[in-house]
């Protein structure tokens, strides 16, 4: 189960343990990106929208740029969201995988001391 238990595997060097392999992969990836971008020049994409609904779509590299910008935006916005939304893991007083076998009937809220359990807990409304 744990890392130490399988020590004979621990010694073996795996594919991505070698930074060189990783570098190769990254170069291959960039190459692919370039090729895919270039495909726009090789083919004519027929537009998704009929007529003049979304002319920008027919711009060269629209999908590539859209994909890139979208993802950067996504990550940046999400990072900002953390500032507002992130709380400690036991915010609700219950952490998965951490409380197995604890003497508690699932009645505690907000980490109240175990002796306070179910006297008035178990409010079930949540």
């Amino acid at each position: 189960m744990s890392a130490d238990a399988s020590s004979k595997n621990g010694d073996r060097r795996h594919l991505w343990d070698d930074p060189k392999n990783v570098q190769i992969l990254i170069w291959v990836f960039w190459a692919c990106c370039a090729i895919v971008f270039a495909l726009d020049f090789a083919f004519h994409r027929h537009p998704s929208f009929e007529g003049e609904t979304l002319p920008i779509e027919e711009m060269v590299g629209f999908y590539s740029i859209y994909g890139f910008v979208a993802c950067v935006l996504l990550v940046l916005v999400a990072k900002q969201m953390r500032k507002v939304l992130m709380r400690s893991e036991d915010y609700y007083g219950e952490v998965l995988g951490a409380t197995a076998g604890e003497p508690d009937g699932g009645a505690r809220d907000e980490g109240r001391a175990p002796d306070g359990e179910s006297r008035e807990g178990r409010d079930g409304g949540d």
């Binding site: 073996r12 795996h14 895919v36 027929h46 999908y63 859209y66 940046l76 709380r87």
Partner: protein, 589 residues
């Protein structure tokens, strides 16, 4: 297919007595799984395991005997109920559920947990029953049955947090069921029928029903049960859970709200907002949960876009989603089983000892990201195409955004943080054989559907001549995906990408888990104070009354003490005087 076309009476208490013709030898499609579930409850482990695999096969074989148009109704409690209504839409979902049950069954073979095995079978059976329900009341029965049976898969984890999670899950789903029941009542009152058919948004019933289905379907603001409960279930449980509940809801939407425009916007929102959460979420199964909402968003959108390509896309995507999302959940389940962890912050480098799982996971990731030649591509593009075709620019752009985002969090983040990234030092064993078999079949299906989509298209409710593989589509998709990957790589290399952190991210369930209990507690305290205040006040009043009464009437009181004879004589005289006065006045008048 109205109730008036009833062919046969289905009498409760008898064995299934069906129509003339081919139906005669068949069971209600839900029965094989339900019966297997009940039998499994009493069976020894070996038989249970056999049932897990054989029951879906038996059910599927049974299912294949039905054809569109079959209808079975029964009179129960004074209502004409349609227990079975077969058409292409229902048939497709039923087939899908059997497939999912089979995969999950194989995946569960290593376990001996009776509770999960029984719950899994009954759960699958309920889903099958729900899609064949011809009216709202029968739908309600299976709807609630889905909730009751599935919650055991969460409780089976036997942890405090999962028990609580399960209770919340059950509450939400019972709320959905109650709304469904109310909707059914309204429908019956408004239209005099319970038959579940396409509705126009306008009647009160349709809105209530939409809300009921919306809860199960994870409409925005109603979605938190999914990301709360799915990560809390066992490794098997989540695989089951991911397959049935939301897909049943999608079925119900497709059945009842095909072409309702609001669904397009709802679907768009669903496709959009979860991906932000998915980026910052640490629990990888919760990431998948958010991704699931995102995928359902596409389906809801498709349903909203209406008959033809829209619904076809939605249904096809639901079909594919069950398989690839199942595959992803299975791979994460294997990780959880082998390492006991599921947080991105604690995992990494598992490809070293779980290479097959890693590989299969990546197949799933490719599918969900809609790489060409993988199943997601052939269904998602239908929805996109239809959105463009109908001229919804904003929707189309949003879905495109969401597609990129999916690849980002489900396609890259999941396999990357679980199997690659930094080495966590964990060296778990490869997943058990049965799990790998289940994942293998799923992966194979992903690729097969991706390569040969026509088999799936043939099953769709509307005739279609859609061809996903034209150059434009493929090129567009490749560009989109590669450049969103590029964004990921760039952000990782520059260190801008947010690290995986142990945390809880607030979602709207804060209102249910924090605000509501506290409000309830305050309310109860206030109510209690008022109540006890009133009681105390009453007690005080009573005390005063008692002391007055005692003062008057007790043996020492004015009226209770023995009077001297003289007092009585006085009163006799007074009374006499009074009477004389009265008689005098009376006679004088």
């Amino acid at each position: 297919m109205a109730a008036t076309e009833t062919h046969a009476q289905y009498v409760m208490g008898e064995t299934v007595r069906l129509l003339d013709g081919p139906l005669q030898a068949l069971l209600h499609p839900a029965l094989p799984l339900l019966v297997a579930g009940v039998v499994a409850a009493l069976a020894p482990p070996r038989l249970r395991k056999a049932l897990l695999v054989l029951a879906p096969l038996w059910g599927a074989w049974n299912l294949l005997g039905f054809t569109s148009g079959d209808l079975v109704s029964a009179e129960l409690a004074g209502f004409e109920l349609i227990l079975l209504r077969v058409d292409k839409l229902a048939f497709l979902f039923a087939l899908l559920f059997h497939l999912a049950a089979l995969l999950a069954g194989i995946y569960a073979l290593h376990s001996d947990d009776r509770m999960q095995q029984v719950a899994g079978l009954l759960y699958a059976g309920s889903a099958v029953g729900a899609v064949f329900a011809g009216d709202l009341l029968v739908l309600f029965f299976f709807w609630e049955l889905l909730a009751i049976t599935s919650v055991f898969l969460i409780w089976a984890r036997r942890e405090t947090a999962s028990t609580r999670s399960g209770l919340r899950y059950l509450l939400v789903h019972i709320a959905s069921g109650v709304l469904l029941l109310i909707g059914a009542a309204l429908h019956w009152i408004e239209f005099g029928t319970l038959v579940f058919e396409r509705m126009d948004l306008g009647s009160a019933a349709s809105w209530v029903l939409l809300l009921a289905i919306g809860i199960k379907c994870c409409f925005p603001l109603l979605h938190t049960w999914l990301v709360d409960a799915y990560p809390a279930a066992t490794e098997l449980g989540t695989v089951y859970l991911a397959s049935f509940t939301t897909k049943t809801a999608v079925y119900a939407l497709a059945r009842g709200y095909e072409g309702c425009e609001p669904l397009i916007w709802i679907g768009m929102a669903m496709a959009m907002f979860p991906i932000f959460y998915a980026v910052i979420e640490n629990d990888l199964r919760r990431v998948l949960g958010y991704s699931m909402i995102n995928q359902i968003g596409f389906m809801v959108c498709g349903v909203g876009l209406g008959a033809g390509l829209g619904v076809n896309g939605a249904v096809a995507h639901a079909f594919n989603d069950v398989i690839f999302k199942g595959l992803l959940f299975m791979s994460m389940g294997a990780v959880l089983l082998r390492t006991g962890r599921i947080n991105g912050s604690e995992l990494g480098g598992l490809y070293k000892t779980m290479p097959q799982t890693a590989g299969l996971c990546m197949v799933g990731a490719a599918s969900i990201s809609a790489f060409p030649l993988f199943s997601g591509f052939v269904s998602k593009s239908m929805v996109m195409t239809e959105a463009a075709h109908e001229g919804y620019v904003v929707v189309w752009l949003a879905l495109l955004f969401a597609s990129a985002g999916v690849f980002h969090h489900a396609g890259i983040k999941i396999p990357f943080f679980a199997f690659f990234a930094h080495d966590s030092g964990l060296r778990p064993k490869e997943a058990p054989l049965n799990m790998r078999v289940a994942m293998g079949i799923a992966a194979l299906l992903c690729i097969a559907i991706g390569c040969f989509p026509n088999a799936l298209y043939a099953l769709l409710p509307y005739a279609t001549d859609y061809h996903p593989y034209d150059t434009t589509h493929v090129v567009q998709q490749l560009q989109l995906l590669f450049f969103s990957a590029l964004a990921f790589v760039t952000l990782m290399l520059t260190g801008i990408y947010p690290p995986e952190l142990r945390s809880t991210n607030l979602d709207v369930d804060w209102f249910a888990r924090r605000a509501a209990p506290r409000t309830l507690r305050v309310l109860a305290a206030v109510g209690g104070a008022i109540w006890y205040g009133v009681l105390a006040g009453l007690a005080d009043v009573l005390k005063v009354v008692r002391s007055v009464v005692r003062w008057l009437h007790s043996p020492a009181g004015r009226l209770g003490e023995p009077w001297p004879t003289g007092t009585t004589v006085f009163w006799a005289a007074t009374l006499l005087g009074l009477l004389l006065l009265f008689s005098y006045l009376g006679s004088a008048l």
